[in-house]
């Protein structure tokens, strides 16, 4: 099982190692700076962290194995053509061509060494082929005519929070846009097709199934069966068995189908974990009892797992990148916006508190 956990928080990046029967914080980097995304590239062990300096903008840092963190190039939107106004149709405001947040970082396929993907706000997908020394905006998606109908959710502008490369094919990838649907490319990002089948109940009657009006909160793909992709959506839970082209809704899951985070079992396409919350303006555990919901039958049934999690007056929210499973499928980490972190060694049957003293957590990642 994985021995190291990277935890990106509002006040820095923490490395937490397995120590005996528990865990210990062994490193604190970028202290005081919000960390919005973190990646350890399984191909070469290089670590990447996206820092949100706020007033000073977004910056990316890289750490080679055994090395120190150094600033690298950051995704930059291209010069906006003179006189061209990019208009957010939902909010009726201009969309800035400036980086507001690096929301996710993902390694490319083993056949594409050095390739890194970055999902950003506003609505950008960037690719680097040199380990982050330079970045290019994927114009095919940025220039899709539907983009101006994408909308912001919790942030002012739409953003890409999930990027997943098919382990079988470097050119097949999916991206999740909140709010703007799920997008699949089979040609390395040259062209895109929006996924269908999702339902967004807050849309006006007749528009609930509009593909680009969907608000996926997070996508998670099964490594061993890459056609299986899970989605925690603003409106509920969905599963795809065709690599994100079409989606089927999962309903009647107690205590709630609302949430942000989902992670997929790396080997078993029938198993995934979600973290439910009371929708939608509340965003706290239902009845103050924190649980993780797990299915082992493809979403037909779920078990609410709360052993070791607080069961009363618990008001944690788990952000979309703050739930992760390791490569074995047994070790899980879960962290909240109120700074608590839990881990499980038995696929969620039991949880143990690692820390309740962290800053608000944005993301967790296991590292072998």
């Amino acid at each position: 099982m994985a021995q190291h956990l990277l935890v990106g928080t509002r006040k820095g990046l923490f490395t937490i190692d397995r120590a005996g029967a528990g865990y210990a914080v062994v490193d604190a980097a970028h202290l005081g700076v919000p960390v919005s995304a973190v990646l350890v590239d399984p191909r070469d062990g290089t670590a990447y962290a996206a820092l949100d300096h706020g007033h000073f903008g977004v910056k990316l840092h890289r750490r080679d194995p055994g090395g120190a963190w150094t600033e690298i190039a950051c995704p930059e939107y291209p010069p906006q053509p003179d006189g061209e106004v990019d208009f957010d149709e939902f909010r009726q405001i201009p969309i800035p061509w400036t980086l507001k947040l690096c929301w996710t970082l993902e390694a490319g396929h083993p056949d594409s060494p050095g390739r890194i993907w970055a999902g950003t706000i506003p609505g950008g997908l960037f690719v680097s082929d040199d380990r982050g020394d330079s970045w290019t905006l994927v114009r095919s998606l940025w220039d899709d005519p539907s983009r101006t109908s994408w909308g912001g959710g919790g942030y002012d502008y739409a953003g890409i929070h999930s990027v997943s490369v098919d382990p079988r094919d470097a050119d097949t990838l999916i991206a999740g846009v909140s709010i703007g649907g799920t997008w699949r490319s089979d040609d390395g990002g040259t062209s895109w097709a929006v996924g269908t089948g999702m339902r967004n109940e807050y849309m006006p009657p007749g528009q609930e199934y509009e593909p680009v009006a969907q608000d996926p909160h997070r996508l998670a793909r099964c490594t061993a069966a890459p056609d299986v992709v899970w989605c925690q959506h603003h409106n509920g839970m969905f599963r795809s068995v065709d690599g994100g082209s079409t989606w089927s809704e999962i309903t009647d899951v107690a205590p709630s189908v609302f949430g942000f985070a989902v992670t997929a079992h790396p080997h078993d396409p029938l198993t995934a974990w979600f973290v439910p919350a009371q929708k939608d303006e509340m965003r706290i555990p239902v009845d103050g009892r924190m649980v993780v919901t797990r299915t082992r039958d493809g979403g037909e049934t779920f078990t609410a797992l709360g052993n070791g999690l607080p069961d009363r007056h618990a008001y944690h929210l788990v952000y979309r990148h703050a739930l992760d499973v390791d490569a074995t499928g047994d070790r899980l980490a879960l962290a909240s916006t109120t700074g608590s972190l839990w881990a499980s060694d038995d696929a969620g049957d039991a949880w143990s508190l690692v820390s309740s003293d962290l800053p608000p957590v944005a993301c967790v990642r296991w590292v072998d």
Binding site: H55, K59, Y77
Partner: protein
């Protein structure tokens, strides 16, 4: 001519020593500074060349008249301060 200084809050993240540059306006002074220290530019300007929202520029104690243009003229001994309002909890 002007000497450009940066808030200590920025010096924590990127090396930005004070430096004297030859320029006629606030904007050209900053451009000249960033030519010497290119890593600093992205902390002050966004990729479209706009001054970051909570960053501001003062010339001899007076805020630049137009944040977009920054054509405030410089004296031979002008002091430019790039400042930032911190916030958050």
């Amino acid at each position: 001519m002007a000497t450009v200084h940066f808030t200590k809050n920025l010096q924590r993240h990127v090396a930005c020593p004070s430096a004297t540059v030859d320029a006629a306006t606030a904007r050209t002074a900053l451009d000249a500074y960033f030519a010497l220290h290119p890593a600093v530019r992205g902390y002050v300007f966004d990729e479209q060349g706009g001054l970051r929202t909570h960053v501001n520029v003062f010339v001899d104690g007076v805020q630049v008249a137009d944040r977009a243009v920054m054509d405030d003229p410089l004296r031979p001994t002008s002091e430019i301060h790039v400042i930032q309002a911190l916030s958050g909890g």
